[in-house]
Amino acid sequence: MPAPRTLLDKIWDDHVVCTPPGELPLLYIDRHLVHEVTSPQAFEGLRIAGRRVRRPEATFATPDHNVPTTDRRLPIADPVSKQQIDTLRANCREFGVKLYDLGDADQGIVHVIGPELGITQPGMTIVCGDSHTATHGALGALAFGIGTSEVEHVLATQTLRQGKPKSFEIRVTGRLPAGVTAKDLVLHIIGRLSTEGGTGYVLEYTGECIRALGMAERMTVCNMSIEAGARAGMIAPDATTFDYLRGRDFAPRDFERAVAVWEKLPSDPGAAYDRVEIFSAADVVPQVTWGTNPAQVVGVDARVPDPGSFTDVNDKSSAARALDYMGLAGGMPIVEIPLDRVFIGSCTNSRIEDLRAAAAVVRGYRVAPSVRAMVVPGSGRVKREAEAEGLDRVFTAAGFEWREAGCSMCLGMNPDTLAPGERCASTSNRNFEGRQGKGGRTHLVSPAMAAAAAVSGHFVDIRSWEYR
């Protein structure tokens, strides 16, 4: 009898093209997602070497990082951003790659539109020149971020040179308490694993809690695997996955036959992981980051830690440096931290479910006078769906700005940035120094927590929110 295999083993085994003697395995790549920032040099490399894209039909492109989220009919003000977007357009035309361009109804953040269009499917290998490619693992794919040289390699060969990563089961027992979201869960996990606890591993999230999550929540969890150092996070496909995919643009024509194959993907009973950690969902409270990496996180009911409370010398110096940058003092209650800005969006939390959760909090309230708040839907589809449900009016009536789809203030490559010293509650994935704008201070939270902070002008515990 063959040895029991994990989800990772099964996808890996199925995609190894060959392992030439003395070389790393060549892994076949089923889907390649491309955006404007990490691809121009890859296409240029192909051009210089006279190479072509091996499988244009497996490659999908969209501009997202650089794009303005204001009126799309206006020209792009930043000439360098415009050049990068124009370059993507020209490259897609030259190499025959499908492009969801700025004016396209389905343009959006690459990690939102991949699943939304059904491009992402269970059992696939998916790469993109973007570390948050881990998102797609929520559908039972092996998906990870790569560098631009590797983008070029995939374009030319439809494969990647890759050693097999180790497997790491993150088992979450029980159910999340009321008011606690997938974002809180993943921040809680990162806080315990540290920013490098997952390095060298693929995380597979398992357990009752994960099975109970919807697809958007699963994407939030897998998305942030990279913040624990893991290139990929994955969740075995199940009825939730299949129901999500059925009827989507690129879903297999013979869907039931595909489901029969996908049902064989989950890890076999007794399959061994290289490492296992068990978390209890009941332990998770709404999370707020206080520092400059996502593992510097505490519950909303806690206080900003004192650097002296850390035993490890690196943790101690990192905490001191982070508090200095963040303009915070150890011992300060999280709920007393005042805010200037609120950003609801990013590949972590910009799906319709995220916007519904935020809108439910905001309904009947006004954004605090001291706060400027912004909602940036993850895709044109999410935006239209939200508008059909009237969520845009809930947000704008409360004083939020309602924007066009893109990465926006998650990384501030477009004009949506923090000014130096501005403090932001953000549903994005990274609170690194300067991430949202030089000198900007980012606190990562869930959409509901961000919405409540916008209304209150400071963090509040969403578990005691009075919904109107």
Partner: protein, 200 residues
């Protein structure tokens, strides 16, 4: 790609853990469509004060480390974004090697694509190097063929590199060119998985 066999150079010490790629090359400089010219923006937000002048407190601005080609850092170097602009900026600035206890995976892979050697040493060895690099003009000698490095005052350490990556670096090989030798195997895989043959 420029081959890497041996390298001797001045060491710059950056005594920080979790140096992310947003710090190595901030996002406002990712809009270029070339691979070159990123060195001027390396560690931009740390290197320069708001008025554009070099921050005299920043490690790489110390007169003693001008011309450094080996960067020493704490654990989890290169975490965060997959941007290959990070190794491009380090290489363009003049670095040929980075030494740290641990590296983030994507950054680690990206280094090899650019003739730059990331070297993992133990925490204790890195501690010792930080002590030694505190003195002026501290130099290290790296030999990738042997997988060793040493200084001029008795420090020696060994490191391992994946044999394939090592060979590519030693010979300056083009990864894609090597992989294209296996086009037949790729076509066999595609046919076995029901994909139409790639034309021409």
């Amino acid at each position: 790609m420029e081959p890497f066999t041996t390298h001797s150079g001045l060491v710059a010490a950056l005594d920080r853990a979790n140096v992310d790629t947003d710090q190595i090359i901030p996002k406002q400089f990712l809009k270029r469509i070339e691979r070159t010219g990123f060195g001027q923006f390396l560690f931009f937000d740390w290197r320069f004060l708001p008025d554009g002048s070099p921050d005299p407190a920043f490690e790489l601005n110390q007169p003693a480390v001008q011309g450094a080609t080996i960067l020493l850092a704490r654990r989890n170097f290169g975490c965060g974004s997959s941007r290959e602009h990070a190794p491009w900026a380090l290489a363009d600035y003049g670095f040929r090697a980075v030494i740290a206890p641990t590296f983030a995976d994507i950054f680690f892979n990206n280094c090899f694509q650019n003739g730059m050697l990331p070297i993992r040493l133990t925490e204790a060895e890195v501690d010792e190097l930080f002590k030694r690099a505190a003195g002026p003009g501290y130099r290290l000698h790296i030999d990738l063929r042997e997988g060793t490095l040493h200084d001029d005052a008795g420090f020696t350490a060994s490191f391992t590199v994946d044999p394939f990556r090592r060979q590519c670096l030693l010979e300056g090989l083009d990864d894609i060119g090597l992989s294209l030798r296996h086009t037949d195997a790729i076509a066999v895989w595609e046919a076995a998985h029901g994909l139409p043959a790639v034309g021409g």
